[in-house]
């Protein structure tokens, strides 16, 4: 593909000094099978009209498994024909089986639901001429809802709507649909993990319970992106064995994976800083757009997307029509429009947050740029998987940011291709979560002495607690819900923020954002960018859930500086772990944007500060705090005071990543941090905190508190077992996140102190043995081994000639003036 060669040629020529590695992932042949012999003739015709004459092997396997009535999970990449995998057998069954028949399709987000309604609806209409499909979510107009309940055989919805809209009405509007339910399709099932997954698992228990009442026994069909444990994950989610179809038969072209590290620069004051990913991505995006290479660039944050878009199109009106930004917080119609334009080729380059990581169909792409590492190995491959579906060649360019993780990855490029994809954990019997769903279940139908969907110790305990406080009361041999409200309304599956702040410009709503995000990006005087326009926030009213902005013309953006304070307000238990002080109790979390920095575009110069006066984001949760043993501290302080901080931040990093596996949580359900308290004037004491990132707590920190010894041993095992020399993201990176002390940073950034000090602290906590860490300097990373490709002589000559000609013309014009 000549155009792509020009783009990679440009990349290799211009940035050869910054390319740390170039991996070539070999092409993979497609593995095909014939269309099933018994496939309904109308479906066969519909497929053949679309040019489909065979299936990938995984699609064929799925066809047989699903029609065999087996609960099935399909593990596949984005764009590997997943939709056909599950929809073909279901449609075939729909057309051949006797009614009654209905199918529920769940997508984790509304955007995905709408996208899929179009895709599925088209195939369904071509094959069956039926339009009995509808989307039932928060955006469905009231008058359409009844029609969908009454008429639709296929209902697309999301877990939140199932929980609060469908289940509470199972015996009224949804009775007929649920009594016909034959298949439940759950797409992107890997997103249901941690606390969210545990909630959703209980929603499914409730669904199966009412299905049983209405006489249906649906088959589960799930699709998942790659996770480390797909089978175990869906079995934990749905409490039944699954057939796992994991071998992806879709072909893949050769993929070139570049690791780029922007250069270190010196300012006038000779401070050293690293250029941002924009220093590479701006020119690369322009070149790709000029060459007509279909490109997606992933950024970490919404406003980052806007800033990059601005930088790429600034002064290039010719590109503005072909490149667009895409992110959450745009209005739904704006997003639909962008998806369509990308699909039909009106635009060929999109700059996006991870909003496009899930399976929204945007057609085939050739170049994927990752501006910074997305946080997990799974996300990295999910984003990279957006390219290389049909083309003969695909290119992935990973541009590192100046963060410890990015810097590690870009200097150890094998890590990405070798590291295992994260596992997904959840625990449906988490008592704190179960306690929220039992009232909902009782509200749906009284709890009978035997409930096949619910049982066990946690369930019995929840029933007891709820009956003691008269949330449920005895009725005949059951318990009925005794309050006059809708318990589902008080249970938010996704955590703490379930409303949006509307962003008004004049009388028009231009966007929306969650309240935590609003605190960090829409404080008064913040610069907010939306589809390339700049606005200034005039007023953020969190009570009224609105923000007023006005369009402005400035050349800077703003960045909030957050401050977080942790305090254990209510100590429940206090103990001693080999001299360390361990407490468990209620933790008050207070995080607040304190001030904002004005940063000039391009130069990233800091051009001023301003205060932010917003109420803090506060909540109470449960957590533990750990103060290292006094003797260990004094020995460390004797060698270097900073060793204590190095160990605490290192252990904080490690615990945050290992704890989820011990309490079946997701990484984002647990937070760790190091916080200091003034014991007496001038005496500060640092403690390591680990707490649930959910208001009220959901029992994760409690579990870790119980299993602290096991957790510490696991941490030590990880450090000891890691192949790295000086620390890495798999154990403890040289500069763990959260460090905001300059002296400590100086020690960490060029030494193995973080990992060595963490090891010393772990040894003290596990064995009561005090060992001084062996701290040494790290060698600088090796220079690049990528040779610049020879320049295209013809092009150089032509460029020189034209440049000269243009200069002559210019001086001629000046003379004539």
């Amino acid at each position: 593909m000549a155009n792509m060669d020009k783009v990679t040629g440009f990349l290799e020529r211009t940035y050869h000094k910054q390319i740390r590695a170039h991996h070539v992932l070999e092409p993979e042949e497609g593995d095909y099978t014939d269309l099933p012999a018994n496939l309904h003739p109308k479906l066969r015709t519909a497929l053949e009209q679309d040019g489909i004459r065979s299936l990938y092997r995984h699609q064929g396997e799925a066809f047989n498994a699903i029609l065999g009535g087996r609960d099935t999970v399909l593990v596949s990449r984005t764009a590997s024909g997943k939709t056909l995998s599950f929809f073909l057998p279901i449609l075939h069954d729909y057309m051949t089986a006797e009614p009654p028949f209905s199918v529920m399709l769940l997508y984790p987000t509304k955007a995905l639901s709408r996208d899929q309604e179009n895709t599925l609806g088209r195939l369904m209409h071509t094959a069956t001429e039926s339009r009995k499909m509808g989307t039932f979510d928060g955006d469905t107009p009231r008058e359409e809802r009844q029609t969908i309940q009454r008429v639709a055989d296929f209902v697309i919805t999301n877990p939140d709507m199932l929980h609060a809209g469908i289940l509470p009405n199972h015996h009224r509007g949804w009775k007929s649909f649920l009594s016909r339910l034959k298949y439940i399709v759950i797409d992107e099932v890997h997103t249901y993990r941690g606390a969210f997954g545990s909630h959703v698992s209980n929603v499914f228990r409730r669904l199966l319970r009412v299905c049983e009442m209405h006489g249906s026994r649906p088959v589960f069909v799930c699709s998942s992106a790659t996770v480390g444990n797909p089978g175990a994950h869906v079995e934990a989610l749905f409490h039944r064995p699954f057939e796992v179809i994991a071998k992806d038969g879709a072909p893949r072209p050769q993929r070139d994976l570049y690791f780029v590290n922007p250069p270190l620069m010196k300012t006038a004051g000779s401070a050293v800083y690293r250029k941002g990913p924009g220093s590479v991505s701006v020119k690369l995006l322009r070149t790709a757009a000029e060459q007509g290479v279909r490109t997606i660039c992933f950024c970490r944050a919404r406003q980052e997307v806007e800033r990059l878009y601005r930088a790429v199109t600034d002064g290039r009106p010719d590109l503005a029509g072909r490149i667009k930004p895409y992110r959450g917080g745009l209005l739904p119609n704006e997003r639909r429009e962008l998806e369509r334009s990308l699909f039909d080729g009106t635009i060929n380059t999109i700059i996006s947050t991870n909003a496009l990581e899930l399976g929204i169909d945007i057609g085939d792409l050739d170049l994927c740029i990752l501006s910074g590492h997305p946080g997990t190995i799974a996300s990295f491959w999910q984003q990279a998987g957006r390219v290389g579906r049909k083309a003969s060649r695909a290119v992935i360019v990973y541009i590192a940011k100046d963060t410890p993780i990015d810097q590690y990855l870009v200097t150890h490029p094998d890590f990405i291709t070798r590291a295992a994809v994260e596992e997904a954990w959840l625990n449906a019997d988490n008592p704190y979560i179960l306690l929220q769903h039992i009232p909902c279940a009782a509200h749906e139908y009284p709890l009978r002495p035997e409930e096949s969907a619910f049982s066990g110790k946690a369930y019995n305990l929840a029933v007891k607690i709820l009956s003691d406080d008269k949330t449920i009361v005895p009725y005949h041999d059951c318990y009925r819900y005794a309050l006059q409200d809708y318990p589902a309304r008080g249970v938010n599956l996704r955590g703490m923020t379930d409303y949006n702040v509307d962003i008004y410009c004049g009388s028009e709503v231009i966007g929306e954002i969650d309240p935590i995000g609003a605190r960090g990006t829409l404080y008064k005087d913040a610069i907010y960018q939306h589809l390339g326009r700049r606005y200034m926030s005039m007023d953020l009213d969190l009570d009224k859930k609105l923000c007023r902005v006005e369009e402005v013309n400035v050349d800077y953006y703003t960045e909030a500086v957050w401050e977080k304070r942790l305090e254990m307000t209510d100590v429940e238990t206090e103990g001693d772990v080999r001299g360390a002080q361990l407490k468990f109790g209620y933790v008050h979390v207070n995080s607040q944007p304190k001030l904002y920095k004005k940063i000039r575009e391009r130069s990233f110069e800091n051009i001023g500060y301003g205060p932010i006066t917003l109420p803090p984001f506060e909540y109470d949760t449960t957590g533990l705090s750990l103060v290292p043993p006094a003797e260990w501290k004094s020995r460390m302080a004797g060698a270097d005071r900073r060793y204590i901080g190095a160990a605490l931040f290192g252990l904080s990093y490690l615990l945050c990543r290992t704890a989820p596996s011990l309490c079946m949580a997701d990484a984002k359900d647990i937070e760790t941090d190091v916080s200091s308290h003034e014991l007496e004037p001038q005496t500060w004491q640092s403690a390591l905190y680990l707490y649930d990132a959910h208001e009220g707590g959901v029992g994760y920190a409690e579990k870790i508190h119980e299993k602290l010894d096991e957790a510490l041993r696991l941490c030590r095992e990880i450090i000891d077992g890691c192949e790295c020399e000086n620390g890495c993201p798999s154990c403890v990176p040289p500069l763990p996140p959260g460090v905001n002390d300059e002296e400590l940073e100086e020690l960490l950034i060029e030494s193995n102190a973080a990992v060595q000090c963490s090891r010393s602290l772990l040894q003290a906590l596990i064995e009561g043995e005090i060992l001084l860490p062996e701290v040494s300097q790290i060698r600088r990373p090796l220079p690049s081994d990528i040779a610049p490709p020879p320049e295209d002589e013809e092009e150089v000559r032509l460029t020189n000639r034209l440049t000269r000609a243009s200069q002559i013309l210019k001086s001629k014009r000046e003379r004539e003036h």
């Binding site: 306690l435 305990l461 607690i465 406080d469 009361v473 009725y475 005794a482 409690e702």
Partner: protein
């Protein structure tokens, strides 16, 4: 009377029944006795004979549920005529006229008198009353009162036999609401209740909640109780009404004297339910349970 219910029998519709009446056949016995009834195969084992015997057995056993389930709606008045002394007449009021309005008041009326169940005081006790009831009589209860009660208490569909007087009256030629039926039959409510309607009942409740003025609650209870008194008057005289010969002098009916003069909200009857649930088996508390309880209280307190 009960044995005049013919419309649920196989092969008998309104036309056929008219023909039978012309030939002097009015009851199950008539049918069985009529040797030359002209009905096909009235042999001992025929479906018709079977159905008659089954109906007789149910009537003999006082199986009201069977009769309500099986009798044609146009014959429901016969059950009412026979069993109105055992029936509980019921009516509810709500705090609005919307589909999700909440129940504010339930009045039950049977041989033991009129009982009042008020939201926030003793509403839940009505469930014990339901458990003691053999037959429900309501006006429009099939689509309004009963579903509302099931929904309010989150209980499974109520299986107690239920006769909806609205449909009984419709079959007797009296269409429309309760107030218009009262008018046609000359039933007059006590003077303070004339002209009150469902909308006023909503207003009375909401106003009472605002002001706490007990007179408003009394009036609401009297209004709702008047509805059930009318139901009982209709039930007691149902045979005459169906016949087209309703008795006169409803306006000074002694039942009106039972209307409460002030709110009479009885203390709840102790619940006798023996619940054997797995949760009951668990005894004693452990720290984890205590934490969970505390957590639950915090969540509730935060709303």
């Amino acid at each position: 009377m009960i044995d005049g219910a013919l419309l649920h029998l196989p092969g008998i519709g309104p036309e056929k029944r008219r023909a039978l009446y012309q030939r002097g056949i009015h009851t199950w016995s008539d049918l069985l006795d009529e040797e030359e009834s002209g009905l096909p195969g009235l042999a001992a084992a025929s479906p018709l004979a079977e159905a008659i015997h089954e109906s007789r057995r149910a009537a003999g056993n006082g199986d009201i549920g069977w009769m309500v389930r099986r009798f044609h709606r146009a014959d429901h008045w016969r059950i009412l005529d026979r069993y109105h002394r055992e029936a509980t007449f019921i009516d509810i009021e709500t705090d609005g006229l919307e589909a999700d309005s909440r129940i504010t008041l339930i009045i039950c009326f049977n041989g033991d008198g009129i009982r009042t169940y008020v939201q926030g005081r003793n509403l839940d006790d009505v469930l014990d009353e339901l458990d003691r009831t053999r037959l429900f009589v309501s006006f429009n209860g099939a689509s309004f009162d009963l579903p509302r009660i099931e929904n309010a208490f989150r209980i499974p569909p109520i299986s107690i036999p239920h006769i909806d007087l609205r449909w009984v009256m419709t079959h007797a030629g009296f269409q429309g609401g309760l107030k218009s039926i009262e008018k046609k039959l000359g039933i007059t409510r006590p003077r303070d209740l004339v002209g009150s309607d469902g909308a006023e009942a909503v207003w009375l409740w909401n106003r009472w909640k605002e002001t706490g003025n007990p007179e408003l609650l009394t009036k609401l209870i009297r209004y709702c109780a008047a509805d059930v008194v009318t139901l009982r008057i209709l039930a007691e005289n149902i045979a005459g009404i169906v016949d087209g010969t309703p008795p006169q002098g409803f306006d000074n009916h002694p039942l009106w004297q039972l209307l409460p003069e002030e709110p009479d909200i009885r203390p709840p009857v102790p619940v006798q339910n023996q619940v054997l649930h797995p949760a009951e088996a668990e005894t004693g508390t452990d720290p984890a349970e205590e934490r969970l309880r505390r957590h639950h209280r915090r969540r509730k307190a935060q709303g």
